[in-house]
Symmetry: C2
Subunit: 490 residues, 2 copies
């Protein structure tokens, strides 16, 4: 493909992306394909001779688009949102045109430098303490692939710091703390590193937040039993219900355990710190005062394409001490000192994409006001949704709504005396009916034995009418179920 062929194919791609964008509302959210559909449709090997690009571009429309779940669809309320903005598409386009592995400053200075700058812009946007800025030359921020990677990197740094102080502690005696509500990233960090994970209990009464006393008891138990808790992964905005661990209480307990690393996973909720009004309730003061590392994923709710997981650390030296390997062929005159960061020592791998460009484009194109408007629009829509659930005779919230998430269940007033197991069965059936539909995408969860449905708002195209439509179809499915249930029991 020469430059002129690329120009034609590129214009066409831009046009087709515009068409996709314009047609999104009219498409089903989830797709109708069966496992194996694509293998059946495609040849079993690559062609011998190269094919004309027009054929390939057309096959993308024919085979790929129909097999996608449309995460930017206005009726996508599942999991957490995944950003895809026009500014971000342009950033990925420019970045891919000068591909390089960016593992140190010299490999492509602009990539390292822009990452250092935009991580400071972003820290400021969220109201993070200046000790987390790259310009502090002590702490700093780095873009990771996902919150799992961020938590894994923090855990490796924490373990390394702990073992430096206690070189004779057996790995089997190290303990990583999470709660029962922590994202699977906690358990996975334990699996990857071969370390014991202890999930601390949280209760519905505490809105599934970890309390200081629970941590205190666990630490005493474990230390007395000869174990060495070395990190706690706390959460601001859990995946299941948007719960916020009581970092203020946790920090107070942790004061007596100076080698217990405090990592905060705020993958989804952290971006809401762009709005100052949510900072106190979502524990930013404690994060700024006490936390060793903090993660939020701008690729979720922050108008930046996947992958854009931001990790800030209070002391960069703990990352570098844990991860630095500098062989001869990577030595260069500009090392990992001062402003010339060698980001390869801040993450697990070596090479890295030029991911800061999409942050720069988004932050400039939207401005602080644009980010605030987007976040508050999503929260307003959720407030409206939650209000309708509160007023409903069919549904009730399971735990208090959190930012743009409402966790609810079907609890028909017409069926007042159901046992938990019956309610769970009813809710599983309700969720199954929603999951079978292609005009809404929504996910389930379980909170201490209670099966529930979780609604998260985040697509930029979602407006009030989409929430009304979601409520109407939920009501429709619930009514069918309640009718069936009454007949079965009648």
């Amino acid at each position: 493909m020469n430059a002129e062929q690329f120009r034609r194919a590129g214009y066409q791609a831009i046009d087709r992306i515009c068409d996709y964008h314009d047609s999104l509302r009219g498409r089903p959210v989830s797709c109708q394909v069966e496992p194996g559909y694509l293998r059946k449709a495609l040849p079993s090997s690559a062609p011998t001779e190269g094919e004309d690009f027009q054929l390939i571009a057309d096959d993308y429309q024919k085979y790929i688009i129909p097999g996608l779940t449309h995460w930017q669809h206005p009726s996508f309320f599942a999991y957490f949102p995944t950003s895809s903005t026009f500014e971000g598409i342009l950033a990925e386009l420019y970045a891919s045109s000068t591909s390089n592995p960016g593992f140190n400053w010299s490999a492509s200075p602009a990539c390292t430098e822009l990452e250092a700058v935009v991580m400071d812009w972003t820290a400021q946007l969220l109201g993070l303490d200046k000790s987390f800025y790259n310009s502090s030359e002590v702490g700093g921020g780095v873009i990771q692939t996902s919150a799992s990677d961020s938590a894994l990197v923090a855990t490796v740094a924490a373990r390394s710091r702990y073992i430096r102080e206690h070189p004779h502690v057996a790995m089997e005696k190290l303990v990583l703390y999470t709660t029962t509500q922590t994202h699977s990233l906690g358990k996975k960090a334990g699996l990857v590193l071969g370390l014991t994970v202890r999930a601390l209990e949280v209760t519905a009464q505490d809105d599934f937040a970890l309390r200081g006393d629970t941590l205190k008891v666990a630490l005493e138990e474990d230390v007395n039993a000869g174990f060495h808790p070395f990190i706690l992964i706390g959460t601001v905005g859990t995946t299941s219900s948007g719960a916020v661990d009581r970092l203020d209480e946790i920090a107070d307990v942790a004061k007596n355990y100076p080698l217990l690393w405090l990592h905060v996973d705020a993958a989804w909720a952290g971006v809401a710190f762009v709005c100052p009004e949510y900072r106190e309730a979502y524990q930013l003061p404690a994060i700024n005062s006490y936390i060793d590392s903090f993660c939020t994923n701008f690729h979720k709710w922050g108008l930046v394409h996947f992958d854009g997981s931001c990790l800030w650390v209070r002391h960069r030296r703990h990352l570098i001490n844990a991860l630095d390997v500098t062989p001869e062929f990577l030595q260069s005159k500009h090392g990992d000192a001062g402003t010339a960061i060698d980001y390869r020592n801040w993450h697990l791998g070596l090479g890295r994409r030029f991911r800061s460009l999409k942050f720069w484009f988004a932050l400039r194109a939207r401005g602080v006001n644009g980010f605030q408007k987007y976040i508050t629009d999503c929260i307003s829509l959720n407030t409206m949704f939650a209000q309708r659930i509160y007023e409903s005779d069919l549904f009730s919230v399971v735990t208090k709504p959190s930012l743009a998430m409402t966790v609810f269940k079907i609890t028909p007033k017409s069926l007042p005396h159901l046992e938990t197991s019956e309610l769970n069965a009813l809710n599983r059936a309700f969720y199954a009916r929603l999951a079978a539909r292609s005009d809404i995408a929504i996910t389930q969860t379980e909170l201490n034995g209670v099966f529930c449905v979780r609604m998260v708002i985040g697509a930029e195209k979602t407006v009030e009418g989409d929430i009304e439509q979601a409520l109407a179809l939920m009501r429709e499915e619930a009514m069918v179920l309640v009718g069936n249930w009454a007949r079965m029991r009648g």
Copy 2:
């Protein structure tokens, strides 16, 4: 930004990428910026109000492009190549327009399905055994971020398999084998996992390849001393010199250690298997018969954008056993069985970009013949370069050229009696002169105490004239040095 503004900005981006491509040969390869240049040029925070995109696009040209190292420049001979093709840019463009985190089949079926298909196409392209194909439903292939991640995943799977069989072995007794020539990914896997790494010795006489006998002695020593070697990371095409570990001999020794996982890192050289004539010399028969996992990075020498590190395993269950965490909110009707792969259990994180699209585009647009032509063109250019080094009175090769890499040093016939330390000093000075130039990018290495310069050919734009130019400027710098040296010693 609305769709029409995006269309204009998109067309402009395509045009500017064409211009960049056309102007590449005329640019310096490496850039002239100093550490901190970008922080000085940019504001210290994001703007309050969003900015016009034209301003942002112009600032990309003004501030970013001049700070890039141009890895696709025809005179880029440093590190290893990093692909950036027109087809790949288009794939990244389309993929970013429907961003989703693809962590399981349901999250976007086409993403999982296409990855499973193209990893089979790619396995076939390289001549890998069918037991590595996804269609085997026993083994399989997955796209990872980098060879470091691939090696880390293999190490985690190997450790998990070993610990299942030997549950009472302390982590401190586990040993990961590499050689002294293994890429830093081996040492980093050890750091990340907190495990002991033993780098086995290799010699210049063996062209820096690991021999079976060396492994045999190490295994006996370690097992007798109560250690548990559980994985060997072998290399096909080392970073420093393109060395190829003797996997045939290694497999023969490893037969007596059935829990010793054999991982092969062929990050750069593995792609050369697209040409059948290199398969035997680069140990494909042993890989196909004995190896547990195999990695090659198509984003290096395989016409696919970063990140596209391919990892194949003989038994997918070892990955899943080691990494599966399936919380309630990720349970779906299509689980990790048969063809509906849940790729989240095959890598470290959870979310993943839609990276298979760029493989599909590249494989179709170039065809098997296109890949073969690209690889053989690079190798021919290197053969020509190496021939000129052999014939030179200024330079000599340090170890036999490997595919598209030549490692050489300055050994002037006019200075016949230099000690190793003097030769090293001369070569460091020679390399420093090359590194100070902006019309060539090349890297250094050290092979068992000998400082040398490594030349790797891989940019698609490189032609014979570029090699001639590189040789001319190397000669020019060498002559200056030899003159200085003679005067100093004179």
